[in-house]
């Protein structure tokens, strides 16, 4: 319980609700969408919904097979500030001077930046780690919404159209792969498979050790 309380704020910031996904589908990005990444082999869409409801879209290009969430934000050119939360990574405290000033990155009451990801053109999912720990592949999208913490809690507007290639590019694999099949796209992620094999082998070995121990007795 002691571990829950200090992290609750971060969780609220990092994760949103899926209840608003349907609502986000009817909203469209304004004409501020910008794609400056056409020359790069991989692209990630960034959607930022500010507190006044205005949305900003950016298409960030990169050469490596994956890119971290904070690198996407940095490459977008938007002003931002983060704060570290241990092994969960960095939490977003400020984007585009919003809020203008803050004393606590994740206030117990008031608005905060909620982080979302969309894998391979899929629906927005609340991120379960900080922005620096989020790994994105080509075709993925990163969303940030300045959430007022009261009332409905929808996801950011759809990233469709922010990058021309979004939804058609094959996702690349990085070192850190989400274990959730839904989040990683179709099929079982290789990391999940490796984890299942390792755990299965260790459990089998324990069973063998137990049988040998009984036989020795």
């Amino acid at each position: 319980m002691r571990r829950i309380l200090p992290r609750r704020g971060l969780a609220i910031c990092l994760l949103g609700t899926v209840a608003g996904l349907a609502a986000s589908a009817v909203r469209v990005l304004p004409a501020t969408s910008l794609c400056s990444a056409a020359t790069y082999p991989h692209q990630v869409a960034l959607v930022v919904e500010l507190g006044d409801g205005e949305s900003v879209g950016r298409c960030v290009g990169f050469n490596a097979s994956s890119i971290s969430g904070d690198e996407v934000l940095r490459a977008s050119g938007l002003e931002y500030a983060t704060q570290g939360y241990g092994s969960l990574g960095q939490a977003v405290c400020q984007v585009d001077e919003e809020p203008a000033a803050y004393s606590t990155c994740l206030p117990s009451s008031g608005s905060y930046w909620a982080l979302f990801t969309a894998r391979g053109g899929g629906a927005w999912q609340p991120a379960d780690v900080g922005i620096s720990s989020v790994e994105l592949a080509s075709g993925d999208a990163e969303g940030l919404r300045y959430d007022p913490e009261t009332g409905p809690d929808p996801a950011p507007p759809s990233p469709a159209g922010v990058c021309a290639a979004t939804g058609s590019s094959a996702p690349a694999s990085g070192d850190v792969v989400p274990a959730s099949p839904g989040a990683a796209g179709a099929g079982i992620s290789p990391a999940l498979l490796v984890a299942a094999v390792v755990l299965g082998v260790l459990a089998g070995l324990a069973l063998v050790q137990l049988l040998l121990r009984r036989r020795r007795a």
């Binding site: 829950i4 609700t17 969960l88 990574g89 274990a179 490796v194 984890a195 070995l205």
Partner: protein, 274 residues
């Protein structure tokens, strides 16, 4: 297997179990420790009792988190809000986090369990560096006080029941507590005299048998250190993300290099005992 290499292994397992909130890595540490206990644990050392105790501790951690944390979107059951502390929604997210916490406790306890269940107490003291030998003996004696006192309490209670007397109320407890305290003091005096008669503290500690450092101990120590060091490096650099299920439950992210670092702890369980 040398107690020092075992201590290095335990320290590595403990570091991994405590440095992450990811249940997958904790589960790997737990299974590696379980393998080690089954492969090398001494008979009659209380392995089964420890496993039961760890299971109960994990269950308590799960229940406490489930009952006291009302955060999360998937409500399993809603207790009346009038019940202090536990009233409110009990969520799937809290249950998952409680289970992950229990898994962490179990993994940490099992990581250090081989120090007492695999090696003998005198081997532990022998494994200490010479400057810490006296401290080790004092700490060992102090740690032995609690189980010794419990044993004494059971013996005294049984002796009094044999005489037809039974403590029924709180006011009857001094009849058990006083002899227990007196026995503990007497035991401490006996221990001190025994240590003095063996010339404890007059010179370097002698050994009945010397533990030899085998090549396999080097393998165990190096792989354990590599596993813990690599895992810590990945945690610091963000390569081994933690896990947090609130407010919406999600599967933990898995890093294959971090997973392999944890799996290195299985090495001491792989040696065939002759």
């Amino acid at each position: 297997m040398s107690t020092r290499s075992l201590a290095a292994w335990s320290a590595s397992g403990l570091v991994i179990a405590l440095s992450t909130s990811n249940p997958v890595y904790r589960a790997v540490v737990l299974l590696c420790a379980l393998n080690l206990l089954l492969a090398r644990g001494r008979r009659g050392s209380g392995t089964r009792l420890l496993l039961v105790s760890i299971g109960i501790a994990g269950l308590i951690a799960t229940l406490v988190t489930l009952l006291l944390s009302h955060t999360g979107q998937h409500v399993l059951v809603r207790l009346p809000a009038g019940i202090p502390a536990i009233g409110g929604p009990l969520t799937l997210e809290a249950l998952a986090f409680g289970m992950a916490t229990g898994l962490g406790i179990a993994a940490a306890l099992l990581a250090v369990a081989p120090l007492t269940l695999v090696s003998q107490p005198h081997e532990l003291v022998d494994a200490l560096p010479a400057p810490l030998a006296r401290t080790g003996a004092a700490v060992g004696a102090a740690l032995n006080l609690i189980p010794g006192t419990l044993r004494s309490a059971v013996e005294i209670r049984e002796a009094q029941r044999m005489r037809g007397w039974r403590a029924r109320r709180v006011v009857d407890w001094p009849a058990v507590a006083v002899p227990v305290v007196l026995t503990a003091i007497e035991g401490s005096m006996t221990l001190a005299e025994a240590m003095e008669s063996r010339a404890h503290g007059t010179g370097a500690r002698t050994h009945f048998s010397i533990q030899r450092w085998a090549r396999y101990d080097t393998v165990v120590s190096v792989t354990a250190a590599l596993g813990a060091g690599g895992f810590l490096a990945l945690v610091v650099t963000g390569g081994a993300p933690g896990w947090f299920p609130f407010p919406v439950l999600s599967a933990p992210a898995i890093s294959v290099p971090a997973l392999l670092c944890c799996a290195l702890l299985v090495v001491p369980s792989l040696q065939v005992r002759r």
